[in-house]
Amino acid sequence: MSRISVLAGGQSLERQVSLRSGARVRDALALRGYEVTAIDVGPDLVDRLTESRPDVAFVALHGRDGEDGTVQEILELIGVPYTASGPSACMRCMDKVLTKHTMRDAGLPTPDFYAFSQTAFESLGAARALPAIEERLEFPIVVKPAAQGSALGVRFAPTAAEVPAAIVAAFSYDTKVLLERYVDGRELAISVLDGPSGPEALPVVEAIPRGGDHYDFEARYEIGKTEFICPAALDDETTRHAQGVALDAYRVLGCYGFARVDLILDGTTGEPTVLEANAIPGLTETSLLPQAAEAAGISFAAFVERVLDLALARTPA
């Protein structure tokens, strides 16, 4: 295995982040002596892959097309081994509604929620159900587009008056939105990495917004806007419990290679509850998974190489 194609960029709103993830992977591989080509994913993807026939494709795409299983389907079709989760796990992670249903069906903790399509509001009169939903979820309610990897389009509605505008905003990003119970607590990100003896949880990262009170899009990617603590200052039992929940989520969703599970440690009950899972989390300098790996003594280069090995291990010879 020596020729690697790094797939990055693409058309999603997270293109910029993906390009940064891809560049970092490319640099790490080049330093280790691999023959690396970078592919900015576009209409010529199939042609470029059939031409270059890489030994492995490293998928560093975030958001639509990359994280939702589409590119993975193409890679399977043309028979190029690729990193991280397969199409079905990607779909389950990309669609937060599907993620949460999967969690709930498996008895794993996730905040209460209701989900609606745009059609439901426009032609099924779903708006009539809003008061009942608001009563059950209680304010503030979190409104999110079902399929947006970053925090774009996520709103907190403190009262009923703010709910309609929040829903309209969320529909800017997807045709399906999620109304979710707000859980006040500590924000944890737990990365999971597959290994010889199955998936293992990496040290917990805690995200503490600096100077602001909400975890917005800016804070997520800008150095210095959020303080990240790794390993998080949690007692051993809480750490193990949260890591266990993250591992369960990883397995139930069918992830492979690596993924990141975002949780809230409920301030009142002390229990972790799963908000979402990222099938291809960010791999930039400010991203959480590489930091967690490093805290576990796994350098970025070692992480990338392990992920390549896993990609080949999945492929029938």
Partner: protein
């Protein structure tokens, strides 16, 4: 290896947690952050930036730019002029030049300013790398962290990061169809004075304002200049579009009314010739000009000598008013097309400005629509605009947008506005479905919204007709 073990020894006790924490946090995530200057905290990145990156895709009709149409400049003409520069002045054109700019170029600038009724001497001028550099140099020269700049609300989005980088406090004065509300300006200045704060300068784009498209009427201009003189404040008059008037009588620039006493004037070749040249200029009171010159030396020594030679050649061999005339015709048609399209495609709840010149129209949507989110939706229809929030420093402008009509063809203007109309109407319908309010009914009083003040900033006339 057990991944759960941290590399820093017995990772269980409370103490070692503390240690491991500070080391890991400080080390990588914050590795660069520790080196950044404090002012970078004010250099905001945003969701909008990532969205705007996508507007550059070829399939997107971008009404987001501020671009002049450079296709009208004949390629063979460019080639001939470049060849002349190469033949006549090769060595000089490839050499450094004086910081203040070449004398022959200053004569060109004197001509351009005379066209708008300004009488200026070559010694009052500093040639800059685009008009943008003037904003930067003025801030560099006048602004200490925490100093106050007074600007219009909304203001030129490109000035926002500059003001931020110099850690200025920006006070934004509302506008109406006649430009900055100078009465509110005086109130704001009084308020600042009571707090013991004196603004360093008032930043204004009085003519065909970017982004609002409105023009400050004459009496307000006179009053603004008088206020500046009485209170001994500087005014930075940003005038890139003054010569791009499509109707009505020209108004005197602030610089002409004040005769260069308190007004720093910003001009540019970007909109009358080419932004690719990166050539602009400032005319300023002599003591200010000297400091600006020193500031420029530190920034880039001098503006492109090659570009200056090209402009000199262009002014010598061609009548620069010809290109300007054809640009005016072109943009006027595009403006009219956009106004018609807005009337046809935007729902009744929307309002927009009707600029008599320049490049931009400012549209205000119902307050429940967030134009930053809407941009994400619009990009799926392959159309882009600038969300209004980019024109404010305090989060206002959330339901407004800036539309550019100069940079795309008439058919793209029509198609682009039609697509925006589609997504806006969709959200209006959706909101009605959610609230039970009728979509196309009479204008709602802005009651339920906390953002109402954002919507009132430019309460301009409704659609024409």
């Amino acid at each position: 290896m057990t991944i759960d073990e941290t590399p820093r020894g017995p990772g269980s006790g409370g103490e070692s947690h503390g240690m491991g924490r500070s080391r890991t946090t400080a080390r990588d995530l914050e590795r660069y952050a520790g080196l950044f200057a404090r002012r970078t905290q004010r250099m905001k990145s945003s969701a909008m930036r990532d969205l705007m990156a996508i507007t550059a895709r070829p399939e997107v009709i971008s009404l987001a730019g501020g671009l002049p149409d450079t296709t009208t400049f004949p390629a063979e003409d460019l080639a001939a002029l470049m060849a002349r520069v190469a033949a006549d002045a090769s060595a000089r054109a490839l050499q450094y030049g004086p910081t203040e700019g070449m004398d022959e170029l200053k004569s060109c600038i004197v001509q351009v300013m005379a066209e708008e009724g300004m009488d200026v001497g070559a010694d009052d001028l500093l040639v800059t790398t685009g008009g943008q550099q003037v904003i930067d140099l003025v801030c560099k020269t006048l602004i200490d962290p925490g100093d106050v700049i007074v600007a219009e609300g909304p203001t030129y989005p490109g000035a926002v990061p500059t003001f931020g980088a110099y850690e200025a406090d920006v006070v934004q004065i509302p506008m109406d169809a006649d430009g900055m509300r100078v009465d509110l300006l005086e109130q704001a200045l009084d308020g600042l004075e009571r707090d013991g704060r004196t603004p360093k300068f008032i930043y204004s784009v009085p003519t065909f304002q970017n982004p609002a498209g409105v023009t400050m009427e004459l009496e307000r201009r006179r009053r603004l200049v008088r206020i500046a003189a009485e209170r001994e404040l500087l005014v930075l008059e940003d005038n890139p579009y003054g010569l791009l008037r499509y109707e009505g009588e020209p108004l005197p620039p602030l610089y002409a009314l004040d005769r260069g006493e308190y007004v720093i004037y910003l001009g540019t070749f970007s909109k009358i010739l080419s932004p690719g040249l990166r050539l602009g200029w400032t005319a300023a009171p002599r003591p200010v000009l000297e400091k600006l010159n020193l500031a420029k030396q530190g920034t880039d020594l001098c503006s492109s000598t090659f570009g200056q030679h090209f402009v000199i050649e262009y002014f010598a061999r061609r009548d620069w008013r010809d290109l300007l005339g054809s640009l005016r015709d072109l943009y006027q048609r595009r403006r009219d097309t956009m106004l018609d399209a807005l009337g046809e495609h935007l729902p009744r709840e929307a309002t927009w400005t009707r600029p008599a010149g320049g490049l931009f129209i400012w549209a205000t949507l119902p307050e429940y629509i967030d134009t930053t989110d809407l941009l994400a939706r619009a990009l799926r229809e392959h159309v882009a605009f600038v969300p209004g929030r980019a024109a404010y420093l305090d989060g206002r402008g959330g339901s407004a947008m800036r539309l550019n009509f100069s940079g795309v063809t008439e058919s793209d203007v029509r198609e682009g506005v039609a697509r925006i109309g589609t997504v806006v109407s969709e959200q209006v319908r959706l909101y009605s479905a959610l609230t039970g309010e009728a979509a196309a009914g009479p204008r709602r009083p802005a009651a339920s919204s906390p953002q109402a003040e954002g919507a009132q900033i430019v309460p301009l006339r409704r659609r024409a007709g």
